[in-house]
């Protein structure tokens, strides 16, 4: 098996080349996944860059990203493969006279197979990164579909036999932890938890993603967001919301955030009314009393 990466620092450096700022944990696990040939299960709060990690890794190793978006009710025919019934029917009709056995062999050949993301990733000739997004949305039973591909990189099709991978692709599974994933799935993966970044990393992220911002403002943004995350909120601001906020501040031409601007724009960071109220109360406990402009 060819390895994509030299060492952990190399991973980290090349990730930052494609504008993804990884910490040691993230880089280390990506490196390890490549070495061990194991999928990575990425968990963490929404909007911390789980999906982005897969995209960035794909960009970094110059591979095609194949994405399987999971949802309730996802089944084999959407995830693995499906027989192209219409084409099969057509085949039968056009050569109505020939031998049945021949037709049967023929219509269950690869020509009539519609590949869905998982099979496609296995059969790909070029480099691919497989992203199985929001895997916690499928039912526990459906998870079983993934097991074969995750542990052995193969798919068994009753009519055709087993399709084995041409190469071991890098696989990312993301989960928002709305439910506990099965032991069987977890056991096959490396586990990576991406939490909200710490102050320095968040500032770096803001600086790299919002290039127009000046350093002081980025620092302030990161600090305020950290303070807000310490409040007891229903939903803490995510990294993407931090970036939105930073962009807004730049657009508004604000160079220094004070309590007023924070109060006025906090609805970009927080999406629940109770959270917004809490944050505003927190900003504005000064005696000169800011009115609740959000209401």
């Amino acid at each position: 098996m060819e390895n994509h990466f030299e060492d952990v620092t190399g991973v980290r450096a090349s990730l930052s080349d494609v504008n993804y700022l990884a910490d040691d944990g993230i880089a280390g696990i990506v490196y390890l996944a490549d070495r061990l040939g194991k999928p990575i299960l990425v968990e963490g709060p929404a909007g911390t860059g789980k999906t982005q990690l897969a995209k960035s890794v794909a960009e970094m190793i110059d591979a095609r990203l194949i994405r399987l978006q999971c949802y309730e009710g996802l089944d084999e025919s959407k995830a693995l493969y499906e027989w192209n019934y219409k084409k099969q029917l057509l085949r039968i009709q056009t050569e109505g006279a020939s031998d049945w056995n021949e037709i049967e062999d023929d219509i269950f050949s690869e020509e009539f197979l519609l590949t869905r993301p998982l099979l496609e990733a296995i059969r790909a000739e070029d480099r691919v990164v497989l992203l199985i997004d929001e895997v916690d949305r499928v039912e526990v039973e459906t998870e079983a579909l993934l097991l074969e591909i995750l542990s052995d990189y193969q798919v068994s099709i009753p009519e055709l036999g087993t399709v084995e991978a041409n190469q071991v692709p890098l696989v990312f599974l993301t989960s928002n932890a709305t439910r506990e994933l099965s032991e069987a799935l977890k056991r096959r993966c490396l586990y990576l938890y991406i939490d909200y970044p710490d102050l320095e990393r968040e500032r770096e992220i803001v600086l790299s993603k919002v290039p127009e911002i000046d350093e002081n403002l980025a620092d302030q943004v990161a600090r305020i967001v950290r303070s807000i995350r310490q409040l007891d909120l229903k939903k803490s601001p995510s990294v993407s919301e931090t970036l939105d906020w930073a962009r807004t501040l730049v657009l508004l031409g604000i160079s220094k955030v004070d309590a007023d601007t924070a109060t006025e724009t906090v609805n970009i960071l927080l999406k629940y009314r109770t959270d917004i109220e809490k944050a505003i109360k927190e900003f504005a406990d000064s005696p000169d009393g800011l009115s609740d402009e959000e209401e």
């Binding site: 070495r35 194991k38 439910r179 056991r187 309590a259 000064s286």
Partner: protein
């Protein structure tokens, strides 16, 4: 850097990893055999000098649940702390110090000149100088300096003695007391204020404060790590791991949770309720099929020429239960009541109606606090502060509380109602009025009792839980989130 297989087989690393994994399992983390093997393989790909990567490699292969990460980290620190390059404690110097510094007094330690670890040269400082350096390091956010100072602080103030059977928290407390971090924080704030030209707004001040708090928190972590390192050196890895072993969040006992564990629990409850709600909603939808739907079967048979080829079934519609929660919120069991209320309301869409009552010796309906409220935590807080639950002296009186309940709300019980009674049934030797429970059971669908005490303590002292529960449909020991979760799932 790859370690060849045979080399690994009899290396001390393998042995160490074995012990490490045993300890993880002892601490309650589910580590399977495959994961164990994965970890062994993973570390062969990681240069061993790189401690952080080593840690993440083990974490990624062994810990598959984020709430277990903390427990993992503690075990890791214990097992591998002696391998870090910062672990250089001059043992003879330590011996000297522990003799001199027994009471943790703040007198300077003159003449201890030999450089040690990162704190080299700090031995000769007076406490005032040390405090000044600490202050500066915090002010400038100088992390390297902070960790050196943390080491020095432990050396001076913790007064650690080899073989003394006290826990790490004791040393931590002693060290932190001597550092007076609260005072330092105030000084830091004053310093920053005097540095800026114009007066700071409240908002800026708050941000500054958060920044300093964060730095102080880091200092505390350093101190803690240093104490742990020294304890491990003194007592050995296994013994230390045992002392530090803490229950996982879902196993923390409600009644004996420390303040820190409480906040952990509060954080844990939100994802828990979300998971539970999703699971329950799915269960309802994917339940077994209902009885035969005769009408639809006949209707469908028309397309098969009147042959009922495809039987149709009704969708199951399990009735949503109506819930009444009656909770004791007196001191000892308050936190338990809080968590249960929180959980029940968080999944209230699984019930047709939820009403809640709280009592100590008087009883008050608190349903109103939860109506139209988004933030359940806030509502629960209001229940604790605003509900009118004291009748005479504010000591639990289950008998009187049930009396009031029966008189005021007894008629609202109907065959759809499920009653949950929460409490330890420590009745302070008042009359039990157990007949009320018996009457309740006759009118309601089910009556359950949830007791946060360990089963072994039931019916000891003034606990009369047995007297009540002979009349209920079941009494459950609910001491931690895991048990609470499984009970609620059973309920729905």
């Amino acid at each position: 850097m790859t370690v060849a297989e045979p080399e690994l087989e009899n290396s001390p690393l393998l042995e160490l990893l074995g012990g490490f994994i045993v300890e993880l399992r002892e601490a309650g983390l589910p580590v399977s055999l495959t994961e164990n093997l994965d970890a062994m393989e993973a570390v062969t790909h990681i240069p061993l000098e790189d401690r952080e990567s080593f840690k993440y490699a083990l974490g990624a292969t062994l810990v598959k649940n984020h709430t277990h990460w903390k427990a993992f980290e503690v075990v890791f620190e214990v097992y591998f702390s002696m391998r870090g390059e910062e672990y250089i404690i001059g043992s003879e110097a330590e011996g000297d110090l522990s003799g001199e510094d027994q009471e943790g007094d703040e007198s300077a330690l003159p003449g201890q000149g030999q450089p040690q670890g990162g704190g080299g040269g700090m031995q000769s400082l007076t406490p005032e100088q040390l405090a000044e350096m600490l202050f500066k390091a915090l002010l400038n956010g100088d992390m390297a300096m902070l960790s050196a100072l943390a080491r020095q602080a432990v050396l001076r103030f913790a007064g650690m003695e080899p073989g003394r059977p006290v826990g790490g928290t004791y040393y931590l407390y002693r060290t932190l007391r001597n550092l007076d971090l609260d005072g330092v924080l105030e000084k830091l704030m004053e310093e920053t204020k005097s540095q800026t030209s114009q007066p700071m707004s409240q908002f800026e001040e708050r941000l500054e404060r958060d920044e300093f708090l964060d730095r102080i928190e880091k200092l505390k972590t350093e101190v803690e790590a240093e104490i742990r390192r020294r304890l491990v050196a003194d007592r050995g890895v296994e013994a230390m791991a045992r002392t530090l072993r803490k229950p996982l969040p879902e196993d923390v006992d409600f009644m004996h949770a420390s303040r820190e564990e409480m906040s952990e629990l509060r954080k844990a409850i939100y994802p828990l309720t979300r998971k539970l709600a999703v699971r329950l909603a799915r269960k309802r939808r994917h339940g077994r099929k209902g009885p035969l739907d005769f009408r639809r079967t006949i209707r469908h048979s028309l397309s098969y020429g009147g042959v009922p080829a495809e039987p149709k079934f009704r969708f199951p519609r399990p009735a949503k239960p109506e819930i009444m929660v009656v909770a004791d919120i007196s001191g000892s069991v308050a936190s338990f009541a809080r968590f249960t209320l929180h959980l029940v309301y968080a999944i209230s869409n699984q019930f047709s109606k939820v009403r809640s009552f709280v009592f100590i010796d008087g009883l008050d309906e608190v349903t109103r606090f939860f109506e139209g409220v988004e933030d359940i935590g806030e509502a629960v807080h209001r229940v604790n502060t605003e509900a009118d639950v004291v009748w005479v002296d504010g000591h639990s009186d289950y008998g009187h509380a049930f009396d009031v309940f029966w008189e005021k709300f007894g008629r609202d019980l109907n065959p759809k109602t499920t009653v949950l009674i929460l409490g330890d049934a420590r009745n302070n030797y008042h009359a039990s009025q157990a007949w009320i429970i018996q009457e309740m059971k006759k009118k309601a669908r089910k009556v359950y009792w949830l007791n946060p005490e360990p089963r072994a303590y039931w019916d000891t002292g003034d606990s009369i839980v047995g007297e009540y529960t002979t009349h209920t449909d079941g009494c459950y020991e609910v001491r931690n989130l895991r048990q609470l979760e499984s009970f609620v799932e059973k309920l729905v």
